[in-house]
């Protein structure tokens, strides 16, 4: 049964708490993009994807698959995976520690359930997702493939190679997404490179394009519904999520400065106070 918006909000709040606790324990990591994509990934794993953590295998047969192309967003990724049942929530405390399955960027070498492919060198995950989608088509597997890219990541040429490939091979089982928060590590995207109008660009590439609010669960649910309706159209779908880096904590929101920075202890305390506690409980 689908979760209500209220239930999703509670989970997303807990995931934002996890993100902050994880990066503060590890004293490293990327909270900004993790917090801008928290709501969309919460909805994806708790309401939208057809997946079963209990029967997960790397080949993803018969299930929907997800690739985190923006591999630095591991805090949100790992928290969503743990909270949806792929591994114990307590393991989130090992993030970025020596020997941990929760590597700084996703690894397939630690047998961490839920992770289909290594990522982190930007621009590559969408190509891998294209391969997954093509493999599913060859096998007549009804599963969908989701992939999340950063907006700064769109500066990589390979993203556009994959964009052309997906249209040419009619990958209508592929739903790519861009976390369009307008920020990257060196500053606002329009001051670093000028990625411009992503919507016009993906439309010109021949994709179905959906632009949606990334922090409103009504908008998120509708966007996923519309995206999934693309199956059978012969076209891949791109959801451009209009989001806010660091969303949920006032002093972290809307600035590139929290892309890869860790709050100080007093900032963590204040951030957790703003988010509020949930019945789900923090990482022990």
């Amino acid at each position: 049964m689908k979760k209500s918006n209220e239930e999703l909000k509670t989970i997303a709040t807990q995931i934002r708490r996890d993100i902050l606790n994880m990066v503060c324990t590890a004293k490293s990591g990327h909270p900004g993009g993790s917090m801008s994509s928290t709501d969309i990934l919460t909805a994806l794993y708790f309401n939208e994807m057809n997946h079963n953590p209990a029967t997960w295998t790397r080949d993803g047969k018969g299930q929907d698959m997800f690739i985190l192309s923006a591999g630095h967003m591991t805090p949100v990724y790992y928290s969503v995976l743990a909270r949806s049942g792929y591994f114990p929530v307590s393991e989130l405390a090992s993030f970025r520690q020596m020997g941990s399955r929760l590597q700084g960027h996703p690894s397939v070498r630690k047998n961490l359930p839920g992770v289909f492919q290594a990522s982190g060198s930007l621009g590559q995950g969408l190509s891998a997702a294209c391969g997954l989608a093509l493999g599913k088509k060859m096998d007549k597997d009804p599963g969908l493939v989701f992939c999340l890219c950063g907006d700064g990541e769109s500066e990589e040429g390979q993203i556009w190679e994959a964009g052309m490939f997906a249209v040419f091979h009619k990958l209508d089982n592929l739903i790519a997404m861009t976390d369009w928060n307008g920020k990257q590590i060196d500053g606002p995207t329009e001051e670093v490179s000028g990625i411009g109008d992503l919507s016009a660009k993906w439309e010109a590439w021949g994709w179905r394009v959906i632009v949606a609010d990334a922090h409103d669960f009504d908008s998120i649910g509708k966007a996923y519904e519309l995206a999934k309706a693309g199956k059978g159209s012969g076209l891949p779908t791109m959801i451009l999520w209009k989001s806010e880096m660091g969303h949920g904590v006032d002093f972290m929101a809307g600035t590139h400065k929290w892309h890869g920075s860790v709050p100080k202890p007093e900032q963590l305390e204040e951030a957790l106070r703003q988010l509020g506690e949930t019945p789900l409980g923090d990482i022990q």
């Binding site: 047969k61 621009g123 891998a128 294209c130 490939f165």
Partner: protein
């Protein structure tokens, strides 16, 4: 010395084409991808027979590597094919992340390798690919020497579970290994046995080394000739057994010194059994336009240079 008969010159890339077709017939999971070089890679027969398993990627090698990794995750056995430079140097990071670190069962079919690519010149003549691929943890690196061996190496690559770099070339060269000789990954092939010097060769320099061994025999120098069709993992046992017998070594390869077979062998000998080694390779240079045979001679990679290197190695004992 043992006689080898050239049954007719053929290009090793056509051996790949035949091997790919056979691998595709044997296993429905084998798929092939190319970046607008289907004809050059001799993938036409596979593409005609299995159109639904052939994936044209256009001139976009980076995406091809990632797409192949994705296909491998779903259980396919993808062969990606392009010129050696464009499936190594151009996409080194993609191979490192998606294939090697990502542990995907992708086979990198690398054609037109080395200086014998010929007339297109240095932009297309990679002499650095072995160094790049050897450096990747877990990557198997194959460099067969003739048509027949390339057919078998392709089948072995398809049967092996894990990333493989399969290097072959453009020019027609003598075809002399048995058509039915199974390819064993990690095993060197002893083509000739002698007691004075060990000639260690790979790819196109194997035939040149056999010619050199013939010339040396006439001078009373008897050579072991080792065909190193697998550069990684290196068959250390066979190499050490030979060098312990001969005490002098030549390593010949169509590749630059840095990171090539020569350094792999030198590293082994430094660790286990120091012996004089003379290197026959592209040194530290880029190539240029020319015919394959003229380039092999000009860059010191042919039989004459290998024989001269052997004389030097023997003199240093």
């Amino acid at each position: 010395m043992k006689k080898y008969i050239d049954t007719g010159k053929k290009d090793t890339r056509s051996g790949f084409g035949e091997g790919l077709l056979k691998a595709g017939e044997a296993n429905p999971n084998v798929v092939a991808l190319t970046a607008d070089l289907k004809g050059s890679l001799k993938m036409d027969a596979f593409a005609a027979k299995f159109p639904e398993r052939f994936v044209q990627c256009g001139i976009a090698e980076s995406n091809m590597v990632g797409a192949a990794a994705g296909l491998a995750i779903t259980g396919k056995i993808p062969f990606i094919g392009s010129f050696a430079e464009f499936v190594t140097g151009r996409v080194y990071d993609q191979i490192r992340q998606e294939v090697a670190y990502g542990q995907t069962n992708v086979k990198i079919a690398s054609s037109h390798a080395g200086i014998t690519l010929g007339e297109d010149g240095a932009t297309h003549q990679t002499m650095e690919d072995l160094a790049l691929m050897r450096a990747l943890p877990g990557m198997v690196v194959l460099n067969p020497c003739d048509y027949n061996q390339t057919v078998q190496a392709t089948l072995a690559a398809a049967a092996y579970n894990g990333p493989v770099y399969l290097r072959f070339g453009r020019p027609s060269v003598p075809n002399f290994t048995p058509a039915d000789q199974p390819f064993v990954i990690g095993k060197a092939i002893v083509l000739n046995e002698g007691k004075h010097v060990t000639l260690i060769a790979t790819g196109h320099t194997v035939w040149e080394s056999l010619l050199a061994a013939e010339a040396l025999e006439a001078e009373g120098i008897e050579a072991d000739v080792l065909d190193i069709a697998t550069i990684k993992p290196l068959d250390e046992e066979t190499i050490l057994a030979s060098v312990k017998k001969t005490g002098a070594v030549v390593v010949a390869e169509e590749h630059n010194m840095a990171g090539g077979l020569g350094e792999a062998v030198a590293g082994l000998l430094a660790r286990e059994f120091p012996a004089p080694v003379v290197f026959v390779n592209g040194q530290d240079k880029f190539g240029q336009s020319g015919t394959p045979s003229a380039l092999m001679a000009a860059y010191g990679l042919d039989a004459q240079h290998i024989a001269e290197a052997a004389r030097k190695a023997v003199a240093r004992k």
